[in-house]
């Protein structure tokens, strides 16, 4: 049965640059002497360290655990010793530092006892638990914890499990190579995911520029009968690899704004995630991934199986990096990736590609001429020029009226802009500003609440004091404070004065610490007294 494919709006045909890194099979990258393992390699809350400095860990051992729901643990990529836990630069657009565990490899690469699980007889919840403990996140680039996406949630039924092998961004070939080399793992992982989701049928979507990957998968599928897996080719168009775009192409369903695909009965995962899921059922947690090392400054571009924590520079040097070249180092693809300032940042779970692009002179941005080229290519049918306008004016209410948060930041608009306006950067700026403002608003509400409560408390205190005073006054009035018992008052005062006098005298007595003196001391005192008498006389 031939599936009828649909189109999403817009899209771009880009020069692929994929062949250069597909000349060789995936090879295992050497283990660097020191691995830098950030505690946060995913979307959500950072993991919390479980190890202490100096501790020896084995490959696959959990070294940081997930404490909150949207989080996954981190595992040691090789055996060795923990030498420190400190802030190091991580691959992030900010270039800021974040807490990392630094592991010194001992070269033995000793493994923990990895036990294969009999996943065929596991409950969906057990499977999710297993995948969470294996630290699996979406390997397509976003890094969202997979076990959450494998939970349809109450009231949702998953009809289709879609495996994303589109890999639409130029230069990146890690998924294509993985499909060519490990088709069985991908299919087995897909079946595990299907079991966790209780999905009805599965589709693997591959862009039609990856012929070899497609045929390998189709051939591999023949060995996995019976199944309900369909492998289809989708037209090569950027950004087909976007989750909602691929769903539209394959099923014709448009996922509504502010909804997740699971709300329409579809769940989408990356092919590399499926392979990692299979590995997890075999007992191996997520400690490495396939990374495409390519670009202008790399003599020997290829795909490598890289342990997490390997510094970018170490990886580049494995591929003949020309360090004198004037390049921009990018993690991810040329459109959606971001620049890396420090070459020592480590490969993390979301690093699909290490790209070195020749630094081109920045083309000056010209005014927007409202040509609407960006509107034509936008895959989400937004109005990029309006979004740009309001982002520039920092009018964050209006920009949300134009559905800023539906933007997938694919960069197609900026790519076609004849005025070279960095449009996506404006949208990212607006998004983070809006989030910050919301955060501030929450804080302001808290401050208002606390201030109002304080006002109320002070007011209440004042009122209570006043009432107490009033009560005392009334009591005094009742008992009577009249002039005819002046004498009684006088005697009371005299008695009080006498008491005070007596106490004072007693204290005076006590202050003279002249008890229990020895003879010498008494003699000294007598001498002093005599002297005092003489001078007084």
């Amino acid at each position: 049965m031939k599936r009828l494919l649909r189109h999403f709006h817009g899209g771009l045909r880009l020069p692929e640059h994929k062949k250069i890194s597909m000349q060789e099979l995936i090879s295992e990258a050497p283990i660097p002497p020191r691995l830098i393992l950030p505690l946060q390699q995913h979307i959500g809350e950072p993991a919390e360290s479980l190890v202490s400095i100096g501790e020896r860990v084995l490959k696959g051992q959990m070294i940081a655990e997930a404490k909150s729901f949207v989080s996954v643990p981190v595992h040691a990529s090789t055996s060795g010793r923990i030498i420190c836990i400190e802030n190091r630069p991580i691959p992030h657009p900010s270039g800021l530092n974040a807490p990392c565990i630094i592991l010194e490899a001992d070269g033995k690469d000793e493994t923990i006892d990895m036990q294969a699980h009999d996943y065929h007889h596991m409950e969906p919840a057990e499977l999710r638990h297993l995948l969470r403990d294996a630290g699996i996140v979406g390997l397509g680039g976003a890094g969202f914890p997979s076990f959450i996406k494998l939970n349809p949630g109450p009231g949702n039924r998953v009809n289709t499990l879609l495996l994303n092998g589109a890999e639409c961004e130029p230069y990146i070939t890690c998924d294509a190579m993985l499909m060519q080399q490990r088709p069985h793992e991908i299919i087995k992982g897909l079946l595990v995911m299907k079991q966790a989701l209780q999905a009805e049928h599965c589709i693997i979507a591959v862009e039609d520029n990856k012929r070899l990957a497609y045929t390998t998968l189709v051939n591999a599928l023949e060995e996995h009968q019976p199944h309900k897996i369909e492998i289809i080719q989708v037209p090569t168009l950027y950004p087909t690899g976007g989750e909602k775009q691929l769903i539209k192409v394959v099923t014709g369903v448009e996922v509504p704004a502010n909804n997740r695909p699971v709300n329409v009965g579809i769940v989408c995962h990356n092919v590399a995630t499926a392979a990692a899921v299979y590995d997890a059922t075999q007992g191996q947690p997520l400690i490495s991934r396939v990374v495409t090392v390519t670009g202008d400054a790399v003599k020997h571009p290829r795909n490598l199986q890289v342990r997490f924590g390997t510094p970018f520079r170490f990886l580049l040097d494995q591929c003949g990096f020309d360090e004198r070249a004037e390049i921009d180092l990018i993690m991810g693809g040329p459109l959606m990736g971001f620049k890396i300032a420090d070459q020592q940042v480590p490969v993390i779970k979301t690093s699909n590609c290490v790209l070195s692009l020749k630094r081109e002179p920045r083309r000056p941005a010209m005014p927007c001429i409202r040509c609407a080229d960006c509107v034509l290519v936008c895959p989400v049918q937004l109005l990029p020029q309006q979004l740009y306008w309001y982002a520039r004016a920092q009018d964050f209410d209006r920009i949300q009226d134009y559905h800023l948060f539906d933007c997938i930041e694919c960069g197609a608009c900026a790519y076609v802009c004849p005025s070279h306006i960095p449009l996506v950067n404006y949208y990212r700026f607006a998004k983070t500003e809006i989030w910050a403002q919301e955060e501030e608003k929450k804080k302001a509400d808290l401050a208002r609440q606390r201030h109002e409560f304080r006002q109320y408390r002070l007011e209440r205190g004042k009122k209570e004091n006043e009432e107490r005073r009033q009560r005392k006054k009334e009591l005094l009035k009742k008992t009577g404070n009249k002039s005819d018992d002046r004498d009684a008052q006088k005697t009371a005062i005299e008695a009080a004065m006498a008491r005070v006098q007596a106490r004072r005298a007693e204290q005076e007595q006590q202050r003279k610490n002249t008890d229990n003196l020895n003879l010498a001391q008494k003699k000294v005192i007598e001498e002093i007294e005599a002297r005092r008498k003489k001078t007084n006389d």
Binding site: H92, P364, P367, Q394, R428, F429, K431, K443, R450
Partner: protein, 187 residues
């Protein structure tokens, strides 16, 4: 003619009663404009506007006693929001009230603190923890950065510190292109 006068008078009385009744029945409690203004203000409670807190300032704006440009912590953003709400033109911040600056919080040097509780009494949002003759400390997440605790401290042990920002709170910078040179004030 009398019929006409009678009918009109009866109608006038009837509608008058209806209006009078609905004015009492549907009376709006509180001032909704004040609430809206208060929602925009940053709730620093610093008093730089010349009023005892954000709520009194909101009331003053609602009554037309104060201008919308007297809130230095809010800066341009708050002025713009107030101008939009009240249908006025945005005006630059009144320099007499202070300069707009990035939000800060304060820290107590716990070695120097003598436990006098003066700062606790000054704090408008109860963000200081402590008791008489006991060391005091600031609850970072509650501090609004109003700096009202600094002046009463007899041993000058309260310092202004920048708000700690980790990677999750990082914001993308506003793209600066050659076309539009960075503005002086980008609040």
């Amino acid at each position: 003619m009398f019929e006409a006068i009678f009918v009109l008078a009866a109608l006038a009385i009837a509608f008058g009663l209806l209006l009078g009744y609905s004015a009492i029945r549907f009376k709006v409690k509180g001032d909704p404009v004040t609430d809206k203004i208060d929602a925009i203000l940053p709730q620093t409670q610093c008093g730089q506007c010349g009023y005892a807190g954000c709520r009194p300032y909101a009331e003053a704006i609602a009554n037309g006693e104060a201008d919308i440009n007297q809130c230095p912590p809010g800066g341009k953003v708050v002025i713009q929001a107030l101008a939009d709400l009240l249908g006025r033109d945005p005006v630059p911040l009144n320099e007499e009230n202070g300069q707009h600056a990035e939000k800060t919080i304060v820290h107590i040097d716990e070695q120097l603190c003598i436990g006098c509780t003066l700062c606790i009494q000054a704090c408008p949002v109860d963000a200081i923890l402590g008791a008489a003759k006991q060391m005091h400390t600031i609850i970072d997440s509650e501090c609004t950065g109003c700096n009202l605790c600094i002046a009463p401290c007899p041993v000058d042990c309260i310092y202004i510190v920048p708000v700690k920002r980790d990677i999750s709170q990082w914001r993308w910078p506003r793209p600066e292109t050659e076309l539009e040179k960075p503005e002086a004030d980008k609040s």
